[in-house]
């Protein structure tokens, strides 16, 4: 019994973190191809609109588009048309009537729109907040559009970051735009603050985007798609193992019977 417990501890008692979602209903883009664009009328004090647009490619290709178990493909869309109030409006979730009532708001968008913004209420009046992201357009539980605002109030920290760090910040905010929340793991891109070196996604990021945007391969047309279920994986596993054992046992018996017949 002690050996079994020890074996169980070795196998299972390993630490693990977990990704989170930024809402309680698992919202995600319905389309698997999502455009990421810089607002055509965005003016930034720290980077030119062209520099900002040039960061989209690395932010999606070095991070989110690399995940083989995710069906989401982000597309560098360059510049969008002008977005009203992008530079100084308030960014509100569509259901937050208190926020919407505060003043001029940024309208619902399609896809992911990036812009620089000087309205302090978006950043808790802090120059230390690098950026904020709010999905501000839903259809049912599906995200239709999200806005990423780079903090452009005087003294902001974003302007002091290196280009690679700025790309990481944009990639992090894209993570929020596609439905992910923060992770406790500092190896994850969705960790709440920037880290010294950001090369790739962490395991939590990969798990999160794979959860929200699973690949549904149809195996050369042999099978249909996987449906979301509430069936605990334990029963799926036990069922599959039992089937495997049953299969093996059937074959053994079949072989015995055939041998008997040939004797």
């Amino acid at each position: 019994m002690k050996k079994i417990l020890l074996f169980g501890l070795i196998i299972f008692a390993t630490s693990s973190f977990a990704f989170t979602l930024n809402n309680n209903f698992g919202a995600a883009f319905k389309s698997k191809t999502v455009n990421v664009q810089v607002a055509g009328n965005s003016n930034c004090s720290s980077v030119t609109p062209e520099e900002l647009a040039s960061m989209i490619g690395p932010a999606i290709d070095d991070f989110w588009n690399r995940v083989s178990t995710s069906s989401l493909r982000l597309k560098d869309g360059g510049f969008s048309g002008p977005i009203a109030n992008i530079s100084n409006g308030i960014l509100c979730p569509p259901t937050d009537s208190d926020c919407i009532g505060q003043g001029t708001t940024i309208p619902p968008v399609k896809g992911i729109i990036i812009g620089c913004n000087t309205n302090g209420s978006n950043f808790s009046s802090s120059s230390a907040v690098l950026a904020v992201t709010v999905p501000n357009h839903f259809s049912g539980n599906a995200i239709v559009g999200a806005v990423i605002l780079i903090n452009d109030i005087p003294g902001n920290i974003f302007s002091q970051l290196s280009r690679n760090e700025q790309i990481s910040v944009i990639a992090h905010e894209i993570g929020h735009a596609i439905g992910l929340g923060h992770s406790k793991d500092d190896a994850a891109l969705m960790y709440y603050r920037t880290v010294d070196h950001r090369e790739r996604l962490g395991q939590d990021d990969i798990d999160g985007v794979s959860y929200l945007y699973p690949v549904k391969m149809d195996a050369c047309g042999l099978m249909g798609t996987i449906e979301e279920t509430k069936t605990p994986p334990f029963f799926t596993t036990v069922g599959a193992l039992l089937l495997m054992i049953l299969m093996s046992e059937c074959l053994r018996l079949f072989k015995r019977a055939k041998r008997s017949a040939t004797l």
């Binding site: 802090s126 880290v195 798990d207 699973p214 099978m223």
Partner: protein
């Protein structure tokens, strides 16, 4: 349902092997080992280190051994990468491989394998909330509360060294073979015990 369908296909292959003759099925096997997902493509700390070293993720599985010709074998298998759990775990992650490999007997003690797997990444969320840092304050974030599976078809290559009824195997899985931008490679190391039927 997909799992059951695939097992049915494996069973059909096995039965086909059986029908070929009374000695068509050599035996079955159990394997135990470790699995590395997305090798060298996952950041493991805040200094930019990638998962390019050995990692221990216990994996177990079983399979059949069906000779097709003198040198070729068909080896249907299932493997399960055990979930990592602790008391705070809000998401249970399982990885299953339902594999159809063909092995070529290069030498008595050396098999080369090639085949394909359905690699199923299954994540079961238990729900709940977490209060985490967010900028210069904290916010509530949400753990998933559904069961989602991502199913990939992988290209598998492997090499297996045999000694008596035991073997050591390196098995690789290439995800998204035809999409260069998201192609990733995972691998397993297995110790296998074979039994005759």
């Amino acid at each position: 349902m997909k799992t059951l369908t695939f097992l049915t296909i494996l069973l059909s292959f096995s039965c086909w092997g059986q029908i070929k003759g009374p000695d068509s099925i050599d035996g079955w096997q159990l394997h135990f080992g470790t699995h590395a997902q997305n090798f060298n493509d996952v950041q493991t700390n805040s200094s930019g280190q990638l998962n390019d070293t050995f990692e221990f993720n216990p994996t177990i599985g079983a399979g059949l051994n069906i000779p097709l010709t003198t040198n070729w074998k068909f080896l249907p298998e299932m493997s399960w990468v055990l979930p990592k759990l602790n008391e705070d775990s809000r998401i249970i992650k399982n990885i299953f491989f339902f594999r159809a490999d063909f092995a070529y007997t290069l030498l008595d003690w050396l098999w080369l394998r090639a085949g394909t797997s359905f690699a199923i990444l299954n994540q079961h969320g238990r729900g709940g909330k977490a209060t985490l840092n967010n900028g210069n304050e904290t916010s509530e974030f949400y753990y998933p509360d559904e069961n989602h599976s991502s199913v990939n078809n992988t290209l598998d290559l492997g090499v297996e060294l045999l000694y008596d009824k035991w073997s050591l195997r390196l098995q690789t899985y290439t995800y998204q073979v035809f999409k260069e931008e998201s192609r990733q490679i995972s691998y397993s190391l297995f110790l296998t015990r074979y039994w005759d039927l």
